[in-house]
Every structure is written in C-alpha cells, then in structure tokens.
C-alpha cells in the first residue's frame, strides 16, 4: 500500500465515518440535549464532550489502522481524520445556515450550529470548527506516538474527569449531606452547581496521575508480594475483601439518600432478573426474549394474594412470596414445553411471543374480573418484617440484597454441578450433549424453571415496592433490557450481570436526558460491544479465554 493509498483509506474514510457519527448525534439532538449538562462547569458541556470523544476516537483508529510503520504517516492520518470529521460538520453548518433543514431535521437548529462553531458567526465559525478538528487529530496522533504508560495515563485521567463530572449530581449531594467541614470543603473545591470546577478537573487529573504512577511503579512489587504470601493469608485477604464489600453493600443506602436508593432498588430488580436470565441464556444457551412474562406472573400473584382489591385473600407479603415463585416456576415449565424442540432464532421468536401473550391476556376484558384489566391492581401492602413496615426504598433495597445473595449462591452452586455442566454442554452442542446421556427435556425445563423462578421473585418484590401493578409495566422492553444486561455484562458471568444492570439501568436513571435516547444508545452499545469486546464487560474467565485466544495457551498446546 502506498502512502497516498493509506492516507485515503484510513485518514479520509475513517474520518468520514467519524463525521457521520457526530453528524448523527447532532441531528438527533443528543449534542444539544446533553449541552445542558456540564462536565466542567460553563466550559465543557457533555454533548460537546461526546462529540470530541468520537472525533478523537476515530482519528485514533485512523492512525492505528495505518499499516505503514511510519510515524509521520500515522500522524498525518489522524490529522486528516480529525479534519475530515470537522469538514463533514462544517458542511452541515454551511448548508444549514443557508437552507432551512429544520423541516426535515427538527434538531438542526441555530443553537446546534452555535454549539458546533463555538458561537462564532460566518467564516470564523467554520475556521474554529476545523481548528477543533485539527486539534483533535493532533491529540489522537500524539496519543498514538506516546508509549503505553503515558497513553493509558492520559486516557484514564480524562476518563476520570468525565465520570466525576458526569456524576456531579450524585456525588455532590452526598458530600453535602454529611455536612462536615472537610466534605463541604471538598465539595466546594471540586464542584460548581453544574459540573466540575476547572480547578476541580485539574486537581482530579493530578490526583489520578499520582495514584496511577505510584501504582505503576510498584505494581511488580505488589503482585509479587501478594503471590509470596502464604496461601492462608491470601485466603484471609480474600475474605477481608468480601467483608468490606458486604459492609459497603449494607451501608450504601444509608449514605446515598432517598433518590439514589430508589435508583439502587431499580438496579437491584434488574440484577435479579439478569441473574435469572443468565441461567437460561448464559448457562443453557436458550435465548429467551419473553422473560418479562415470569416477572409479570410474580407481580400479579403477589398483587392478587395481598391486595384487598379483587379477592382479598388477606395474605401478607411473606406468605405470597413463595407462592409467587412457585407459580413462576410452573409457568416456566408450561411455557418451556412447547418450545423444547426449538433452537436459536426460532426459540427467540417463540418466547418473544409468549411474553406478549401474557401481557395481552392480563389486558383482556375476558380476564378483567380476576386480573383488573388495564386498571391493574392497587393497594398492595408493603412487606412487613416482624412488625417493621418496609416502606422506604432503603428497606426494599435490603430485601433485594437478600434476594440477590440467595440467587447468586444458587447460581454458583449449580454452575459447578452435574446440572450446570449439562446446561453448558447443551449450550455448546445439543446433539452431542444428548449423546452423552443428558436428558434434554428435563435439562431444558429445569433451566427455564430456574430462570422463571428468579424472575418471579423479582416481580414479587417489584409489586410490593410499587404498591400496584398494571399490564403496561410488563412490556417487551423489560425483556430487551434484561437480555442487553446479560450480553453487555458478559454471558455466564455473575459480576457481569451486576455491572451490566448498574450501567444500563442505573446510569439512565441518573442522567434523565438520556431516557429519550435509551434504545438508540443500547443499540450502539450492543454493536460496539460485539465488535470490540464480545465477551462482555466483566466476562466469565472461560469466555475470555475462548474469545481472545491468549498466546500463552497456544504456545503451551503447541509445545
């Protein structure tokens, strides 16, 4: 490949991709919507930050893809890519300022052009835009030319600032709530009312760099030191880590306050759902898109048994809970039987149908006298724990925590058992699994039933938390969310499910503007994950090995 070819293929083409990406998020209104939230107060809005990250990322890719190991070519590629991205956007500004684009693209407003051109009118604005593109390109080029340590340092320091700025609404109230002299001082120093202060941003970068560099300098020593410790002590440190984690989990809602505890309970509900689906999809390899059905069944069983509205059975939450789980398990078996012979895509479509059937049944006029129809069922009492009413989200949090611990325990125990191996064998190759003597019917139904039971547990807690159930709470998006959690977190990995739920459910609650772009972002996130990290955020060790064959094992087997 000649130099010009490389410049054309990588610089121009990848730059154009970057341009189109930024153009897309501009035209769907993300840049403006996130423009109201600042990473660094009154200086760097989040919308612009995202556009800059995209530009730099594509420029970095353009330089990295260059097959010619020539630094000047790499630099040229990233600069061209940056300029190209800016060029695409300048075209938007030029065209948009002369022709009215708003009839088609509602978001192509003068405000957008002002954001893109830094508020400068006329040719100056275009020059400003191109200048920013150039700077992004140069920055990406410098990143490529730096060695690993410095590149990681810069990227991670910027990421720290981004996350701290993003979570301003989360961190500042906590610090303020403690109302100690020190925390107030820290809060004032780092945060303005709408983001990090410039001082705070710089401080955060410096503090991060110091920590990172000191860790880097001593990393060999730390690792070796830990490895040299006797097995007993290593075990103790592990238990100590678990203990600290437990204490954090227990104290968390007390520290976080009402709103964030509410967010935590939503995350908790989805962790439970994710752990259940993890058994069906992650372990047994059965892609179930109708998972919300069991969530709905759990909710409605608790609602019918505890609410005085329709039947007035007069049961309390604790009596209704096991019945709800059992109903979920039975539903799992009943819905599992017809799809026993289906595989892959066919199974996904059939189960998708089941999820909708349950919702539509509940909505139907026919079942209205028993299930309440579209009005749903209200006045479900809160759980009562030995005379203590669990009203606040903080209380429900503990209920969910207990549920999650139970489900994690069951998942772990099952995974390393005869049944768990049978599930995984079935996931790998159904025919051969059967030829090993595995009874496919029983094994599949057990997977469906276990997953459904966990889902019903989540649904039961959901019903008593909200106090009322409506059919429209159980739409197909819940199933999609849970599938996305399991895939993005890492199939078959329990910590992955927790992280996936926190990222996909927690973040959108914290960034309310996000809600409108939720499905768009999920789609992009899934595509990007499949391309860059198909094993998920926190993969099961096995999957990591499977998808990124480490040279170590190859060398070992070759020897």
């Amino acid at each position: 490949m000649t130099k010009t070819q490389s410049l054309w293929n990588h610089g121009v083409k990848i730059g154009a991709i970057g341009g189109v990406s930024v153009l897309t998020i501009s035209l769907i209104g993300m840049v403006q919507m996130f423009g109201k939230r600042f990473i660094v107060a009154d200086f760097l809005p989040m919308g612009v930050a995202i556009a800059l990250i995209l530009t730099i990322l594509t420029a970095y890719l353009a330089a990295k893809k260059t097959s010619i190991p020539d630094k000047s070519i790499q630099l040229a590629n990233s600069v061209i890519s940056g300029l190209m991205t800016a060029g695409v956007l300048s075209m938007l500004v030029i065209i948009g300022r002369s022709i009215k684009l708003r009839t088609v693209f509602v978001e192509a407003s003068p405000q957008l052009y002002n954001i893109l051109t830094g508020g400068i009118q006329g040719a100056g604005g275009i020059i400003f835009l191109l200048g920013v593109g150039l700077l992004c390109g140069v920055f990406a080029g410098i990143l490529i030319l730096l060695n690993d340590l410095w590149r990681k340092l810069i990227v991670n320091a910027l990421a720290t600032v981004f996350v701290l700025g993003l979570l301003q609404e989360l961190i500042m109230p906590i610090l303020k709530a403690w109302d100690l002299g020190v925390t107030n001082y820290i809060a004032e120093l780092f945060y303005a009312m709408n983001g990090l202060t410039p001082m705070g941003a710089i401080l955060a970068m410096i503090i991060f760099s110091i920590i990172y560099l000191s860790w880097y300098a001593n990393r060999e020593k730390i690792k070796k030191g830990y490895g040299d410790l006797p097995k007993e002590t290593q075990k103790k440190t592990k238990y100590l880590g678990l203990l600290i984690l437990a204490i954090i989990l227990i104290v968390l809602p007390q520290v976080l306050g009402l709103f964030l505890s509410e967010v935590l309970t939503i995350v908790g509900l989805y962790v439970l759902l994710g752990l259940g689906l993890n058994i069906v999809v992650g372990y047994a390899g059965l892609l179930d898109l109708g998972y919300v059905a069991f969530f709905a069944i759990g909710s409605y069983v608790v609602a019918l048994l505890t609410s005085p509205q329709i039947f007035d059975f007069g049961l309390n939450f604790w009596q209704a809970l096991p019945i709800a789980v059992i109903c979920g398990v039975l539903a799992g078996v009943i819905l599992g039987i017809p799809v026993l012979k289906m595989r892959g895509d066919y199974l996904a479509i059939a189960t998708l149908g089941f999820g909708e059937i349950i919702r539509i049944l509940v909505l139907s006029d026919f079942l209205k006298p028993w299930l309440g129809g579209a009005q749903g069922i209200g006045s479900i009492p809160n759980p009562n724990f030995f005379g203590f009413h669990m009203v606040k989200p903080q209380h429900i949090y503990y209920l969910l925590l207990a549920g999650c611990i139970l489900v994690v325990f069951i998942s772990l125990r099952l995974k390393n058992s005869r049944l768990g191996r049978a599930w995984m064998a079935m996931r790998e190759d159904e025919d051969v699994a059967q030829a090993m003597g595995i009874n496919l019917v029983a094994t599949k139904l057990l997977a469906f039933a276990t997953g459904a039971g966990f889902s019903a547990l989540s649904g039961a807690i959901f019903a008593s938390k909200i106090g009322s159930v409506y059919p429209h709470s159980f739409n197909v998006f819940i199933s999609i969310n849970v599938v996305a959690i399991v895939i993005i977190g890492g199939m078959g990995s329990l910590p992955g499910v927790v992280i996936g739920a926190a990222v996909l459910m927690g973040l959108p609650e914290l960034l309310r503007e996000f809600a409108e772009y939720r499905m768009f972002v999920y789609g992009v996130a899934l595509v990007v994950m499949m391309l860059l990290r198909p094993e998920g955020l926190l993969p099961e060790q096995r999957h990591k090995m499977a998808l990124h064959d480490e040279p170590e094992t190859e060398a070992k087997t070759a020897a």
Partner: protein, 259 residues
C-alpha cells in the same frame, strides 16, 4: 455370544434406502470394522445404533435386549458411546469438564443436591472428578485439564473425545473414523491406543475406517457396505481378496475395459 445383534435393519430417507436389511453380529471384546465407499451408509448405521435415527424396520439387540426406538440419552444409559467423524467436543468447556459430562449418566444429583451442598452430592462430584482425571491420564493428557477443548491440537482433540466417550463406561464404543486427518505416526499411535483399550478395559469396539492399513491391522472382523447393503463380511485377509469388495471400491473390470 454376540454383544450387539442387528437383525434386518432398514433405514429409508424418503425414496432412498440408506440401509438395506442389515444383519450384523458384533462379538464381545472384538474390534469390528465397517468399511465401504463414501455414501455407503456407514455413519447412518452409527446414527441408527445411537438413536439419532430410528430405523423403519428391524431390530437392534444389545445383550439380548432391544434398543430400537429409545432416545439417544437412554441408549447411552444402556452402554453405547460414540465419537464423531468431525470431532464434536464441547469447545468452550475445559478438558476436565468435557470428560465429566461424559460421566453424566453415572451421576444422580439434580437440583437440590448441589444447592444444599449434600454430602452425597459432594462425594459423587469428587468421584466424578477423580475418574475424569484418571481418564485424561489414560489418554496422556494429564496436566491439561483446565485448557479449553477448542485450544487443543487435532490429535489431542481426538484423544479427548475418546476419553469423553469412555467416561460413560460403555460396553460398546463406536468410533467414526478415529484416524481421519492423521499423519502416519499419529495413526500408528491411535491404532496402538485402540488395541490397548480393548485389551485393558475389555471394551467392544466398532469402527468406521478408511485407511486400509488400519483396518487390516487391528480388526478381528470386517464388514463391507455399499449402497446401504452389506456386501461382504469376514476376516481381514478374506476381505482383502474378495472380488465384490474390490469391484465396489475400484469399479468392475468391464467398465475399465470399455475405455
């Protein structure tokens, strides 16, 4: 007495008769080879024995008891295990897990045992692990139990598949082209291994094979298929000089003359 007795077995796919009224007896502790040109129905024959296909007519008796119509997993319980022509391990499970899945039929625990951590379940698991480790050692793969099956080289994958099949402790082992794609040295190793297996474990082996050197060296008896029919059966020496067999493989002399 025959361990496996196949009587008048016929399998049709629509109008195609894949297996035509087969009568075969496999003696206990013998190595019985099935040979024949491509498409002769050898693998279909295996699929009928293991329950993946159900023969339309005829009877299959294992130790005098009929196994026709049983599902594949039930047939494993009766004591038949197999390997595949194109290796079919569980690629993302470790070597140890692969072999332990093979031992599945001898384990009893289901749902509650492992959750409650019952003593019987724990003992069972420990035993399964021990047996799997022993089998890995037997196929000379000890020390590699934590490697994913897909990361093994070809020869080791074949041996691992063999260990997985042996884990179910079968009476009858069906090997579908165990030396396919192997170089002469690997082939020799595999032949030694098969003979060894028969001698040490006392297992009965039916194998499909294309390499005549292997067939002639290790078989006690050879059955030849062509177009779903059995065209010859006998000792390796007899088969070597059998006219029908030579014709099936090389074509009849008439066709050659006409050129």
């Amino acid at each position: 007495m025959a361990l496996l007795s196949i009587q008048n077995m016929t399998k049709r796919f629509g109008g195609l008769v894949a297996l035509n009224a087969l009568n075969i007896n496999v003696k206990e502790k013998s190595i019985h080879s099935i040979i024949g040109p491509n498409g002769a129905g050898k693998t279909t024959f295996f699929n009928c024995l293991t329950g993946f296909y159900r023969p339309e007519e005829g009877e299959v008796l294992l130790n005098g008891k009929s196994i026709v119509g049983l599902s594949p997993d039930r047939i494993v319980h009766k004591g038949i295990a197999r390997t595949y022509q194109n290796i079919r391990l569980f690629p993302n499970l470790t070597a140890l897990e692969n072999v332990m899945v093979g031992y599945h039929v001898h384990l009893k625990s289901s749902f509650l045992g492992p959750i409650l951590g019952l003593k019987s379940t724990k003992m069972e698991e420990a035993k399964a692990k021990q047996i799997a480790m022993d089998l890995l050692k037997y196929v000379k793969m000890d020390g590699k139990e934590e490697t994913l099956a897909k990361n093994f080289p070809y020869g080791e994958q074949r041996r691992l598949e063999m260990a997985r099949a042996l884990a179910s402790q079968p009476k009858l082992l069906l090997l579908d082209e165990p030396t396919a794609g192997m170089n002469p040295r690997e082939t020799q190793d595999m032949m030694d291994f098969i003979e060894h297996m028969r001698g040490e474990i006392g297992i009965t082996i039916v194998l499909i094979e294309h390499q005549m050197r292997v067939v002639m060296n290790i078989s006690d008896i050879v059955t030849v298929f062509d177009y779903g029919k059995m065209i010859a059966e006998g000792l390796p020496e007899e088969i070597k000089n059998n006219k029908t067999v030579i014709e099936a493989y090389l074509g009849s002399g008439d066709a050659a003359d006409s050129h």
